[in-house]
Each structure stands twice: as structure tokens, then as C-alpha cells.
Amino acid sequence: MPERGYLGEFELMVLLAVLHLGDEAYGVPISRELEQQRGKDVSVGSVYAALERLEAKGLIGSILGEPTPERGGKAKRYFHVTRAGLRQVHETRRVLTNLWRTLPELKREVS
């Protein structure tokens, strides 16, 4: 039975990256996408930890791909978002949008 819980910040980012990449969502492009968006290095191990948590919650699924020599003969594992995952993404987006909308206009502070 999949675990239920709220999405953490990093989990949400990983989920959105998987959605964005579509069929080519495996470890390397997911981490690359997160690095580009965040502007700093991302540990591939922590990406996989987040993917495992999402898989345990039933928000994503995975299938094994083909091994290649560049990967030392190891197969790729492709991830895809499930229906429950899509619902969770939309719900999170709705909540975050409402929260942002209710905030007063923030003035940028210069340190």
C-alpha cells in the first residue's frame, strides 16, 4: 500500500522535473534539470532517495531500460508520473497559488 503524506520541497521539484522530461526521465536528466533550475549541484543519491519516496507514495512509477557501455553495462531506470502523482501536483499547485495570492506585496530588501 503506498505511503500517504505531504510533498516536501525537493520531492515536488523532482516530481515536476519528471513531468517536464516526459519519456526521457531517468537519473541523469532529472539531476541535470534540477541543477539548471536551482543553480547549484545536486546529489544524484538524494534525487534517487526522493524518487524512492515518491514511488513508495505511489506518485511515480519506474521501468527498466536498456544497458549501455557508457553506463558500465547497467540499465537505465525510467520514471513516469502516475495519476495519483498528477493529482498531488495539481493540488499542491492550487494550495501554493492561493497562499501566494493572499500574501501582501513583498518589498525587496537590499542587504
Binding site: 531517468y26 544524484v44 543519491g45 524518487l51 544497458p67 558500465g72 540499465a75 537505465k76 531506470r77
Partner: protein, 702 residues
Amino acid sequence: MKSAQPPRLATWILEHLTTGEHGLALSGDLCEQYHAGRSSAWYWRQVASACIVSWYRSFYLQRVMILFALLWSMLAPAWTILVHEFENRFTLLGHIWRMDWPWSTLASFGTWMLLNLVFVWAGMLVYLLPAIWHARRIDPRQVRRGILVPIAIFNVVYFGLFFLLNLLSFPGPSVDLRTSTPARAIFDMRRWAMAIRLPYLITLVCALWRPLPRLAIAKTFMGIPIGEVPPPNSTPVRSVDLEGMSGFLGFFVCAGLLNAAIVALLVCRLPATSGPSLLGTLTRAAVYVLLGASAGTLGAWFYWRRSASPFRLHAPLSFRLFALICAAGWVWVPAIILLSTQDSASAALLGGLLGCVIASGLRKSIPAEAQPANLAPPTSAIFSHAILEVPTELHGYVIAFCVYLAFYSYRNSSNLTAAALLATGAFLFLWNRTQSPAAITRQQLRRRAVWRLVRTALPAVLITAWALMLGVAHRNRIAALGAALANTASPDSIARPDSTLGGTGGYHSIILWPLPPKKQIIPPIPRPANYLGIDHSRPMVIRFDGNYWYFQPPDQRPGRLAHQAHGNPLLFDIHSNNRFPLFMEAHQRLIGPVRIDRCREIDLQIENKDNGPGSFSVSLLLGDSGYPGQPALALGQQPVISSQPGYFRFKLAPVTETLRFALPASPRIRKFDDITVMVIPEREHITASPKIAVDQFELLPR
């Protein structure tokens, strides 16, 4: 210049030491990124991060279980005390030791194991009971795991931690169980109590760990997932084949060695008689050699047949052949153990021989076709930095490290450690130097293995018998010396030793000097030039300001390697870290001689803060330094009352006691200026120096 392949050690760590479902995919991703241009430092950082993250997640998921194991293991010291009281109350140990060998040893070990396992199983039952009650069913796999895992690992963890503690601090923590209660022991945070808790904690965590961490190596062999069809056009990784096979072979060899060592430590004993017959010694040696080989075989077989072992399905050689080859090395283990307890350097040399025998035997039994003859360069990108992979021979550094550390251990008299290190270094050296046979049948391999076993077993029996005889001779010398010292015979009548003994680490002997005197504000009272002069009618008090000697037989005094320290003997825990007794003496040199005919009695005032088991007594010897060859005058032996059964009380502060020694009317010597106080402990106290200090001597005039 960057290597074409990612760091092998990092890859091994990633594939073997991380938990998690997608370990192989992660490994492949990092490999892909490395080939895309990432550096080795980046690769190492990613591997370290993956290990930390995966284990953190595993511990987090099992946090309730870990907390329970922590709390349950807090009860371990209390359980140890209860077991001790149980054994004493029912004189269980007495019944066991009256049995014939080897049943006495097996029964003792079995009882100890059972009592410890009961504690672990009780903890597991308490933890699993709510889950069983809730689910209304028992998972047979969990029960089987819960029963078997503690049996398999408790021994290994317990003795491994014991070995580690002795390496870190000799001779390890000790405590008098008579003086503690179970309730108090639960909250005991001393080193002893924490050391006791660790093996139970680790065993409980391993037994209750659910599910098994998904280590990637259990899923693949030769680069192919076990049980799955190999993907098309896949290239098995050469390095995984060779390294995986070597690694597993090494693991099984070590498992057998450890098992053989444990059995040898428990079972191998010197003959009880002081003059055993040659036939009896040879028979005993043959039994020990057979036990060593059998224990090693059983230990390796246990892990060979486990479900996680890839050798169950795809072994480079059969277990029978493997056992025959390795038994030629395991037969040396009893001799190594016996010699190491006698602090003989031969133990280390035999360890090296063991490593050579096993390495050459295994290497010559794996045909060359199982390994690629030429190391073809790996495929690499067309513009890679290096066309050919630079070979890295890590084993060279490991061999050098083992040799250096072995000599260091030998220098510190840790012969067992030196043997293990030399065995490792010799194994690695010969493993990489020995050529595999080109074409050889299984029958030839088996014949060779049997012949090799026969050729090594016979010398092993002879050397084990020699070790036994050496041990008996040594024991006889110590017994003779102990009897001579107890009768306070002339030092000249005691045979001078040919060689001095060391311990298993620690110091050869110790000389303890008094603490430097504090700066005195008032001038000290000057000492008289001579004691008990003609007009002297009052007792003369001499404060003790000499030194204490701690040494082991057959030495009669601390050697030139003696460790010198300042301190109070009441504050020091000085133990023998081998099986030899520890002698303690206090020496006081007087400024001037005292005439025997002026003194009728010497009252010795001591402070006793000893809480160890066993009582002890004190003997006084008077000597004249003007006549070095003259035998000392012995004034007899007096028991220290506060250490005797019936008078013993746990001491938080030192207890002062006065022992009276009368001088004979017609003594052998006329005067003395040297007083020696000899502490003579009983058998239970013979390896730990009593915590007593000499306060003063009071000379009573005639």
C-alpha cells in the same frame, strides 16, 4: 590526466555499501556522468552522498526498532550480573568443569551462548509481540530469521568487539560483579557496562532489521541480474567478474579462518599434567588440527550456502574443492593460537605461511579460461584523455601496510595481530603472483588439493605438538618459580631466565615511583644517621618513599624495558594482559643500616583499596646492600585481613591495616638497610595487582 573508468573503489562502495532499491541504476547514472566529463572528485562526492542518504533513510525507517534495541540493550549489564549470580548459586560452573574435556569446554561455551541468546530472543519477543497480536499471525520467515541471525552473529560481534577493545586499551575494562546489583547496573555508564551493551545492541538490530537492506551485489553476478535474462548486446563488465569472484573467495576464506580461530581459542588447552607423554601430546595435537580444519570448513560452508551468496548458483569451483584447498591453511590455526598465548614470534611466521598456502592453492585451482588472458583496453570515447587505462595496483600498498604493521605488532608483542597481518599480506602477494593452470581437469585439481592437504597437515600436527610441549615447559617453569618465591628461598636458587617475557601489548614491567614531594614550607625533620642507636628506646617510624615493582615470571625484577611512572598504586589498575601471573613488590632503601639485634619487631602499615576477587598476603624481606650476594632475611608471611573472605567490604576509601613481623632471635644477617615488601595474591587475584600501598614501617626496639 583522468582515467577512462570511474574510480573502482568508489564504484565498489556504491554497489556494495548502499541500501535502496535502485542502486544499480544510480551506479549507471554516475558512470554515465563520469564519461560525460565529470571528475573523479565529483564521482567520490556523489558516492559519499549516496551512502549517507541511503543509510540515513534506512535508519530513519527503522527508528522505532533501533530505539527499542537501544533501550533493551541498557538492561544487558543487569542480565550479565543475573547470569553470574545464577551460575554461582547453582554451582553450575563447578558441575561443568568436573566434566571431561572437551565436554567441559563445549558445555561451558554452550551455556554461555544460550544464556546470552535468551536475552536477545526475549528482547525480540517483546518487540514483535504487539505486531503479532495485532496481525493475529506469525510470519515464519521472521521467526526463523529472529532465531538464526543472533546465533550466527552474536559470537562474531562479541569477540570482534572484545578484540577491538583490547587493541584500543589493554587489558580492557573489568569490574567486580560481586559489588554491583542488577538494578544499579541498568544505569551504569562505565566503560565496562557500555562495552557489554554493544554486542547485544548490534545483534538485536541485525535480527530485527526489516527487510534486509537491498545491497546491489546480491542481485547481480558477472554484471547480470540473478534470475533475469541477460539483456541483449550487453557487455559483462570484466572488472566485476574478477573482483567479485576474488572478493567472495576472500570472504569465505576469512569466514573459515575466523571460525577456526574462535574454536581454537575456546578448545585448545595445554595438557593438565606437567609431564605429558609424546603419544598423548601428538594425539591432542592431531585432534586440534582436525578441529581447526573442521571449524574452518563449517564456517565457510555456512556462508557459501546462504541465499545471498552468488556462489550457490555460479561458483568458479565446487565447495568440496574449496574446502580441501583452504583446509591446508586452516590446520595451522591451532598452532598459531597456542604459540601466540606463549608470546612466541613463531605465531606470526605461521600466519604468513597460512596465507601463502591458501593463496597459492586457490589460485592454482581456478583455471585460466575463467579469467581473460590479456587485459584488452576498455572501450572509451574517441577523444578520451587516456587511450590505455593505467593499471593501478592497490594491493601493493596493502601488502606494504600489512608488513609494516605486522612488525610493529610483533615489536609490541601482539603476535596474534602480527600473524593476521602477515597472513593477509602473504595471501595478497601470492594471489597476484601465482599463475593459474592453463588446462586442468577437475580430478587433477582434487588430487592436487588432497595431496597438498596431506603435505601440510602432518607438519601442522608436529608443530602443534611442539607448541603444546613448549607451553607445558613454560608452565612448569612458572610453577617452580612461584613455589620458590612463596617459600622465600634465596634468589640465587631461582634459575635465571634465558629470555624475558612480554605481554600481549602493554608494558614489559613497571616501576612506580612515588609522586614528587610537595614544596615544604617548614624545614623537614632531619633523618638520623643511623636508626635505633644504643640510646634509642622509642619505636622508629620510617615513612615509605621507595618504589613499587610490577613484573611477570620468570623475571625476578623489572627489566631494562620497564616502564617508569610516578603515581599512587591505589589509583592504578595494573593487570596482566596474558595468562601469566603478576608480581608486586615495594622496595625501601634506608639511609643507614639498622642492627638486627636492636630491633625486635617491624610493624608494616599499609593502605588497602582493593575490591578485586581473591585475597592476598604480604611477606617482608630484609637485605643488606653491603653484601650483595648474601640471601635476604625472610620474616614470614601475614595475611591482609581486609582482603580475606568474611572480612571483605567494598572499599570506597583505603582501609589502613598494620601487619606485625617479628625478627628472629638469631638471624642470618647482622644488619639491614633494604626492606622488601612482597605481595602474594591467591589464585583468583594472580593476574591483577592488588591495590595496596605501603604507608610506613615502624621499627620496635628490643
